[in-house]
């Protein structure tokens, strides 16, 4: 029977991966050419979502957040959280097409700081702030029930494997790198990479480029065995939520009363977010004491300097992601591209009437922004690496099995494993 099921998995996976290629074939069809004097109607831009409906979305988010918090902390119902995440997936995922989302709102907030001409909408701001505010008090209940990206991954967890701690720690650096790049690109007005590379938005919209659909399905397939891979190892908003959650006053607990050390919950968390009691004897024996702490603490500035240096060196490369820089360099390196009628970017630039000098000047301004931005981003990544290293030699005295406040997504699975009653 297991073999049969595996076969079904395999067939399904192969066919789905192939069939996604079809949706990628949706090309823009050329307009017919009329000679009868018929005038092509001009392209209509869809109206933005009505403001009232945008506020309704905020209201829904608020209600979902409140419900998730109540279900995780008060009701302690895994089933409730599960069905709430199904609702979130349907509403914020398939109905709202994955937009607006709190993860992407990072970029709106960043751009509003970096570009005085950009006015962030109240909805985007609230989508950014509300989950953080809830997390600051109640832990990551947003991830549990209010995030469509989390929900779609959570629903496909079939056989989660426990990853070793060292791998979790090492891969845990990726979201910080992603966050710093997302902020850098948003601040320089280059791109909203979180949205562009959202692996699930193609599934929500039933339409995306081939590689994005493949990426989304790959994440889901991987998510069957490595629970919530995007949330744990990529989500840049998860970084902010993790920071907030560490300070949360009322966080989800495994046991409703006193831990009886039964160890039943040790394998309950598919995200490896349960901290075990500290073995003080081993800690003392390990030599990971004050000496190491001091060494790693002193290394932090060095990591930051290295990051700043790497940022400074790579700013030219990073800035090539900017459309203006890319275009300017393209036309400088390949001036004959001006005569390429198929290059839409070049032709749009030529049609705009902008001079090459202006384009280059604008590109240089952007590159200057990247110069400083990349150094800040590099310094931040250096700080994260240094702090993560330092964190490996910091031991907190722990006697019970507790959820890791930063990494726990408050899904409530562990609660079902606890035999203790109130």
């Amino acid at each position: 029977m297991i073999k049969k099921m595996k076969l079904i998995f395999f067939l399904f996976t192969v066919f789905y991966l192939f069939s996604t290629g079809i949706s990628a074939q949706q090309q823009r069809f050329p307009k017919p050419e009329f000679e009868s004097g018929y005038e092509q109607p001009s392209t209509i831009t869809p109206e933005p979502r009505a403001l009232a409906l945008e506020y309704f979305d905020v209201l829904v988010l608020l209600v979902v957040l409140s419900l998730a918090t109540w279900l995780a902390l008060k009701k302690r119902s895994r089933q409730g959280i599960l069905w709430l995440s199904v609702f979130t997936l349907i509403y914020f995922g398939f109905y709202r097409n994955g937009c607006i989302c709190s993860i992407g709102a990072i970029q709106n907030v960043t751009l509003s700081f970096a570009d005085p001409g950009y006015a962030i909408s109240l909805t985007a701001l609230l989508f950014f702030i509300l989950p953080l505010a809830f997390t600051l008090f109640f832990g990551r209940t947003f991830c549990a029930g209010a995030c469509p990206l989390g929900a779609i991954q959570d629903l496909v967890i079939f056989k989660p494997l426990s990853l070793p701690k060292w791998l979790n720690k090492t891969l845990g650096i990726i979201p910080y790198i992603y966050l710093s790049l997302a902020v850098l690109f948003a601040a320089t007005g280059t791109d909203f990479i979180i949205c562009r590379y959202d692996p699930f938005v193609g599934i929500f919209r039933m339409d995306a480029k081939f590689h994005m659909v493949v990426l989304g399905i790959s994440f889901l397939l991987m998510g069957m065995f490595v629970a919530r891979p995007y949330c744990r190892f990529f989500c840049p908003y998860g970084v902010l939520l993790s920071w907030m959650s560490r300070f949360s006053r009322w966080h989800l607990t495994i046991t409703p009363a006193r831990c009886i050390q039964c160890k039943l919950c040790t394998n309950s968390c598919p995200f490896d977010a349960i901290d075990f009691p500290t073995n003080e004897k081993e800690v003392v024996k390990s030599g990971l004491g004050p000496k190491k702490f001091l060494t790693y603490a002193l290394l932090i500035p060095l990591w930051m300097i290295m990051g700043i240096f790497a940022g400074e060196r790579s700013h030219t490369w990073l800035s090539k992601a900017n459309q203006d820089v890319y275009l300017a360099e393209l036309l400088i390196s390949n001036p004959e591209m001006k005569n390429d009628p198929d290059n839409i970017d070049v032709q749009t630039f030529l049609a705009s009437g902008k001079t090459m000098e202006t384009l280059v000047q604008e590109a240089e301004v952007i590159r200057r922004k990247f110069y400083f931005g990349s150094m800040i981003a590099g310094g931040f990544i250096g700080l994260v690496v240094g702090m993560t290293l330092l964190n490996t030699v910091v031991f907190r005295k722990r006697q019970d099995f507790e959820p890791h406040k930063g990494n726990c997504v408050s899904c409530g699975r562990c609660m079902d494993y606890c035999p203790v009653e109130k």
Partner: protein
Amino acid sequence: MNTVDKLKLSQNVAVISGLFCSVVALLLLLNYWQFSKNDPIESKALEVLVQRLKEDPNNDGLKTEIRNYDLLARKAYFNSQWQVKTGAYLLLFGALVLALALRIYYSLKSRIEEPEKKLENEIASRVLAQKGIWIAGAVVFGLAIVASFATVDYLDKYNWESLVFEEQVSPVENGVEVIDVGVVSEEPEVADGVSATSEDVIEEVIVEDTQQEELTELEVAESAAQAEQPVSSSSASSAADLTVETIRNNHNSFRGPMGQGISYHKNIPVQWDGKSGENILWKAPIPKHGYNSPVIWGNKVFIAGADNQNREVYCFDSRDGKLLWTGKAGQIPGSPATPPKVTEDTGLSASTLTTDGQQVYAIFATGDVVAFDMNGNRVWAKNLGVPDNHYGHSSSLIIWDNKLLIQYDTNKAGKVIALNAATGDPVWETSRQAKISWASPVLVQSDGKFQLVLTADPIVAGYDVQTGKELWSVNCMMGEVGPSVGYTNGVVYAANEYATLAAIDLKTREILWENDMFLPEAASPLAHNGILFIATSYGVLVCYDAKTGEEYWEHDVGRTLYSSPVYADGKLFMMDNDGVVRIYEYGKEMKLIAENELGETTGTTPAFAEGRIFIRGEEHLFCIGK
């Protein structure tokens, strides 16, 4: 239902939904395969039909066949799209059911796990984590540094590229400087002084000719001095030579050098006959129709033609009339799929080309501007936006100071544009408080600087060639302005039918005199050596005193005059729309020297070079010479 039943049910649902998903995915793949085989965008059959239509554009049956085929292909395309969309939804539905069934199946099969007897050694994992973080940090920063070495900073190279570019164009600027500080810039000033003291027109001619000789000598000396400098260009045909003298040696724009209607070539024939072939050195058929006049550089004559399908530039060998090359002005981004509606008497190619000896430039009624090198290679092309013009755009191009100057007065807005001649990049653009016009820009030199004089309803205005700044404007014109301005001795002559003929002092902006007795519809005024000529569309050629507006003489030829009068070799050349060129002595008294028939109707303006006249007829390009 007990647990075993639930297990069986979930298992069956999983199998069925899995098969369903597989079938849908298979159908989608088949759809994709079929679609890729019959992609209407890449349809070869359609391409063949379109090609056939190009060869036989009036074949209505073929057009209908193409339309039917096109419609069928589009239907197939959108049908396939619907199938993809529907299939994707079915697949999603199947996947959801499968996921749910599998989930239930696995949760029912799950057993209570025994707690781990031995937990992961945290210390060991932390030590491992440290290694991992070290490696990860080093890899990230290492990659960033490697990327920096693998990256080329092209923006930095732009300065270098610009320097090279400047080196290439600097001779042009040097050339301008020569004019500004050296000789040519002074020439009109001297001429002004002479003309102010002289009452005899013939005397003026002599004085001006003498000054021109001096000018030539000085320029030769200057050229010799330049030749000693290593920076100086050695190429006789480089853009550095685009001086007043150089363009006077050619005929590089509508109405000759600077668009003033004055040719400096000598030994121009005065006798020919198109029917008998007398003094017709050659005549060459013109592939596509147009009302633009020939421009000449060296041994090359350029004209343009267009129809609804194609827009082309032709280069003929001036010695034997051989068509050297045809430049296509197609596939220009922004160019309309179907050309704008124009009237027959204007057409799609009414604007005369211009050349600087390096490149030749053309503009069409579609708003397409294109540059070819002298060998017919397309250098750049762009669309300025389709001009809203109810007859068709007809303003000709002119070039100076490495800028292609375009008068772009349309029903939407009036503006004058300067494009970088080398690249087509905009240099400046100036909005004009003017309505649509069909006149062409004229270059004049005042106080050592060149300005562009434009006429339209309601202003006659001058623009700095360097910056595009409007230097002056006089409100005196009205109607649908077709004639360009005439210019001599610091006075601009602007005229239009149903409006006025106005003599405007360039420095004081004063209207010196006005007359509305004879007004041109299309032919531009010619002002030279104190004499002004006006040619009306109803066939009267009128000669005035340029200073006072006093009429010297008039000649009613009784034929339509759209062609502009041109001064050449001390004579006035006036062609009517039937192709008869009347040659007059250029003076205060009317003296008709000759009447020569071309044998073809035409409304263009003749071009002069090296003792020859080049005339574009309705179907042929004629070269007249001895």
